[in-house]
Each structure stands twice: as C-alpha cells, then as structure tokens.
C-alpha cells in the first residue's frame, strides 16, 4: 500500500462522479451474471418445491386422485407416528457426531497435506481416493468389511486378540459404524479446506514467524481466523449432507436393526417409494427442511461473530 493517498483520492473522485450510473451499471451486470442461475432456479427448483409443498397437504399416492386434506399429514406426524420421532433422534445423533468428526478429520487432513513434504501429490490423491468410489461399490465393500463372520475388521480384531464386534448388525454400534464409514470419504471436505488454506497469504505466516510465533500461533492466529469462511461453508454443507444421508443406510441396513439406523431420509424414502404415501413423505420433507433451515439460520447468524472475510463482509 505505497500509494494509499492518491488511490483514496481517485476513488473518492470517481465515486462522486459516477455514483448513480455506476450503481445502475453494477446492478445490470449483477443481474446478467446471475441470470442463468436464476432462470435455472425458477425453472427446476421453485416449481418442484412448490409442487412438493402442495402435495404435503394431500393424500396423493401416485396412483390415486389427490384430495386436499389440510394439516392431517402434519398432525399424524406429530401426534401419531412414533417412528417420526425415532428417525428424528437417530438423525440428530448421527448429524451432531458426524458433522463434528467429519469437519475435524477433514481439517486435520488438510493441514497435514498443506505441509511442504515430498510425495504430497500422492498423499492427497490417496486421501481423496475413497470419495471417488461409486456409492454402489463402496456400500458393498463396507458390508464385507463389517461382516461379523467373514469380514476383514473382525478378522483383524481376532488377530489382535480382541473380541469380535457386530458393527452394523447391532443396535448399539450401527450408527457409530456408519459414522466411521463416512469418515473414510471426507475427501471433498478436505479438498475444500485445502483450497481455502491456499488463499491465506504467506506473508501473514512470515509475520508471525518474525514475531517469534510457533506453529500453534500460526494456526491459532492466522490459519484458523482466515479459514473461517471455508469452515462456515463446510459446516453448512455438512449439516445439510448429514441430515440427508441416505444411500449407504439404504443399501446396508435398511434402517435396522430395530430401527437403530432409521435415518430421516430413509424413513421418508420408505414412505414415498415403498408405501407410495407421497403426501405424508412430502410433509416429512418439509419438516426436515424447516429443521435444517433453522439450524443453518442459527449458524449463519452466529457466523457474523466468528467468520472473518478479508474482502470485507459485503
């Protein structure tokens, strides 16, 4: 910032001169830039979403002519459906633990892999690799690994002289097993953290070093604050993702044993595509939507206190 004064002056002059026209121009440019996305949003999101909202107030089963039944679906959910509460609590536990562990693990990996070490490319690829495995193959793979009689995990445990576990086949360990499995594919979160880490200017670290700071200081006073926008992004994304986890429990546990892994979207899916209770399923979806939106809103509101934007908060 060697030319601060002239820059400020020039800026001030320009601002007064072009204020009105520049604002208008910026608006037109802004709208043009977001136009394709907005069009797509109106077309493929708004319509179907409103559609699902309407369906939530009907008894549509795909096959029948839908009737308007008011709030019945919601009443049934809140007052006459123990599985709704069951799935909600299962999902809550899964999401709370999963989000925390996924973020911490991904951040730890990203920090590890932003060190300048030989073979970085290989390690990054290795850590990202698991998330490239198609869901259908990874579910099957983990079923094998978890299998109490024939699986690798128990074979390793036996080799170490430890007792065999039931993994996904026991009410008490099924959620933990699914969370463990999910940790395996934190590659995308890690990549976003890595990309975030690269935007942190190097001179800030140099400044800490000059002041005699150690690695912890660098992390605490540079990395962490400057990474907060990325953390916020990953946090919101993880919340949305873990609340909606579906494929693996669907293939691996079908919600069992004894509904211990009956995650919300799995239950919703069962209502929608196995029992064809589309109206009820849509009502379930909207309740989930409200829950996620509420949590995200709270996170976004509090984020103003802990997220730090270099480019200003605009």
């Amino acid at each position: 910032m060697h030319h601060t004064a002239p820059y400020e002056q020039r800026l001030a002059r320009t601002k007064t001169k072009f204020l009105v026209s520049r604002e208008r121009r910026e608006m037109i440019w802004g709208l043009t830039c977001v136009a394709p996305a907005l069009a797509g949003f109106l077309f493929w999101q708004v319509g179907p979403i409103l559609g699902s909202l309407v369906i939530a107030f009907t008894d549509w089963t795909v096959a029948n002519t839908p009737h308007w039944i008011g709030l019945s679906n919601f009443q049934r959910m809140l007052f006459a459906d123990p599985l709704f509460y069951k799935s909600l609590s299962v999902t809550g536990i899964y999401a709370a633990t999963g989000v925390f562990l996924n973020l911490s693990f991904a951040l730890a990996l990203a920090l590890l892999l932003s060190q300048k070490i030989f073979g970085l490319t290989f390690f990054r690829t290795i850590f990202y690799l698991p998330s490239t495995v198609p869901a259908i193959a990874s579910s099957v793979l983990w079923l094998w690994l978890f299998n109490p009689e024939f699986g690798l995990f128990n074979s390793i445990l036996t080799g170490l002289g430890l007792p065999k576990q039931q993994w996904i086949y026991d009410e008490n360990s099924v959620l933990a097993s699914l969370i463990l499995m999910n940790l395996w594919s934190v590659g995308p979160l890690m990549v976003i953290f890595l990309a975030g880490l690269q935007t942190i200017p190097k001179y800030l670290y140099d400044a800490v070093a000059v002041d005699g700071g150690n690695a912890w200081h660098k992390f605490r006073f540079v990395t962490l604050p400057l990474l907060t926008p990325t953390i916020l992004f990953n946090l919101i994304l993880s919340i949305i993702d873990t609340f909606q986890v579906f494929t693996q429990p669907y293939v691996m546990t079908q919600g069992g044993p004894n509904n211990a892994s009956l995650l919300y979207v799995l239950y919703l899916y069962r209502k929608a595509f196995q029992e064809y209770d589309m109206g009820y399923a849509s009502a379930l979806a909207w309740v989930l939507f409200l829950i996620i939106a509420l949590i995200s809103f709270v996170v976004l509101q509090t984020s103003r206190r802990w997220v730090f934007y270099v480019g200003g908060s605009e």
Partner: protein
C-alpha cells in the same frame, strides 16, 4: 560461558531437530492415514481379481491365489462398457463446462457486484439445498415429462448450464469473498468492466476453488446414478454408473465383476485428481504476491 556463535549454533541445531521431528511426525501421520484410507480400497481391488468363492473365504485371503484376471475382460464385456463410457463423457463434459461458466458468473454476481435484494435472493437459493431430493424427484420428473424431454440427456445437462447447482455457486461465492476488494476497485479504475474484472482478477486468484468445482462436478456426473436412471430409458443411452448397477441383482449378484468394473471406473477419476490437484499448490504463490 558459551560464545554467542555457539549459542546461535545450538539454536539452529535445536530448530533443525524440531524440523526433523515434525517432518517425521507428518510422515508417520500421512503413512498411518494412507494405510487406513487404502485398506478398504485395497480390499476392493483385491476382490476385483478374485473369483466369487475366493472373495468369501475365511480367514480372508489378502493376496488372491490365483489372480482371476479374467474378471476384467468379463466385466467390460458383460455391459457395453465403451458405449456407456462415451455417454458418460458426453454428459460429463457439458456438466463441467456448464457448471464452471455459469456458476462462476453467478457466484461473481452474488459476491462482488452490489445490487438490491442480492443477499436475500442468494439465501433463498441456498435453502433449496435443504430439501431432500427424494421429494422433488417426482415433481421435477413431471416437469421434464411435460416438456417431452424424458429419455434425452437434457434433464441431466440443462440445469448444469443454468448455474450448475447452488452448491457450486455457494462454494465459489465463499471463495470470491476472500479476495481483497481493492483489487476489483483498482481494475475498475483502470477502466475494466465487471466481466473483465472477473476474468482478469477474480478467476486467476480463484484457481484452487475453480479446480475444486471442476473436480466435484466431474465426479458428480461420473458417479450420478439416480439422474440417468430416472431420465434415460434405453440402454443405448445408459451411463457407467447405471452399468455398475447391472451387476447386482435382487437375489444374486456378480460381486467380483462389480468390483472389477468399479476399479476401472475409479481409475480415470484418480488420474484426474492426481493431475488437477497441483493447482491447489500453485494457489499459494498467486495469493502470496499481493501484500
């Protein structure tokens, strides 16, 4: 009494010992992590060169004896692999291009250009991520059916040309916001219009994020199962992800072939990531210069 020089030397030695130690720790963590990450993958690849009964022997065989290499030719001929590959690449290329172009534009419009209602509209957009797909599936399908575009690739690519998905816009927007605003202002004072600012200032500084978006959208298209399944009716239009599902049946499945086919499907993605990820490192140098 130690001389000043000796003191300096011992400090250097201590520092290099710490360096040496931290490198060791880094490597052992990387090594341990890699082992844990690779173990299931090793299991996948191992199973891909085994016969069905070899896979389920107990105690498990770590190294197949003998190797069942014939799984690969068998897997690649059981489903028309090349045709599915061609179909997948066709969708993938459009997905990546469409997403990169339109999501970048949108993220730019939502982060660095000021216009009334901007943040409100963005937040509304963001909420669409929160509704489970299972529930918009049918209404969305009805929309495409109404347009008569079922059994074409339109439903799979057109949304990608329209923002690419709010996830990517959110990702890019979040990164664009970390770029110092003075850079834009300087460029604008030099007479650049917003598109030029985007192209010459924002995009070069956001290479890591853009590469991330490219990789994610490519991987999304590569592994997307439900989209092609819903919208493509003829097997001549099927993608690789659908091809993989053909190996599993209701009661019996050809797991060994599924594993072989999956291995083949993973390889291009791994290569893509391997070569693309060096741009994350380059990011440092670029942002580092400004200061």
């Amino acid at each position: 009494m130690k001389s000043a020089a000796a003191l300096g030397r011992s400090q250097v030695r201590a520092a290099s010992r710490i360096d040496w130690l931290s490198t060791l720790i880094t490597y052992s963590l990387c090594g341990l992590g890699s082992f844990l990450m690779l173990l299931p993958l090793f299991w996948l690849v191992r199973s891909s060169v085994m016969t069905l009964d070899q896979i389920f022997r107990f105690p498990p065989e770590w190294i197949p004896a003998p190797f069942a290499w014939q799984n690969y030719p068998e897997a690649l001929t059981t489903v028309p692999f090349l045709l599915y590959l061609k179909n997948t690449v066709f969708i993938l290329v459009q997905t990546v291009l469409g997403t990169l172009i339109t999501a970048t534009l949108a993220a730019y419009g939502f982060s660095r250009l000021r216009w009334p209602g901007r943040d409100l509209i963005f937040n509304i957009l963001l909420t669409t991520l929160m509704l489970p797909y299972a529930i918009t599936l049918i209404p969305t399908f009805l929309l495409w059916a109404h347009l008569g575009l079922v059994n074409t690739t339109w439903p799979l690519v057109l949304p990608r040309w329209c923002g690419g998905g709010i996830f990517y816009i959110f990702l890019l927007r979040q990164f664009f916001r970390t770029i110092p605003r003075e850079l834009d202002e300087a460029a604008i004072l030099d007479g650049a219009n917003p598109l030029q600012v985007l192209w010459h200032v924002v995009v070069p500084l956001s290479r890591p994020a853009l590469i991330t978006v490219a990789i994610f959208s490519a991987l999304g298209a590569w592994n997307d199962f439900l989209g092609p399944l819903m919208y493509l009716n003829e097997s001549s239009k099927y993608t690789l992800a659908l091809g993989l599902a053909e190996f599993t049946g209701l009661y019996s499945s050809q797991w060994h072939l599924l594993m072989a086919a999956s291995t083949v499907v993973i390889i291009p993605v791994v290569l893509l990531f391997f070569f693309a990820q060096r741009y994350f490192i380059e990011g440092i140098a670029l942002t580092g210069t400004k200061g």
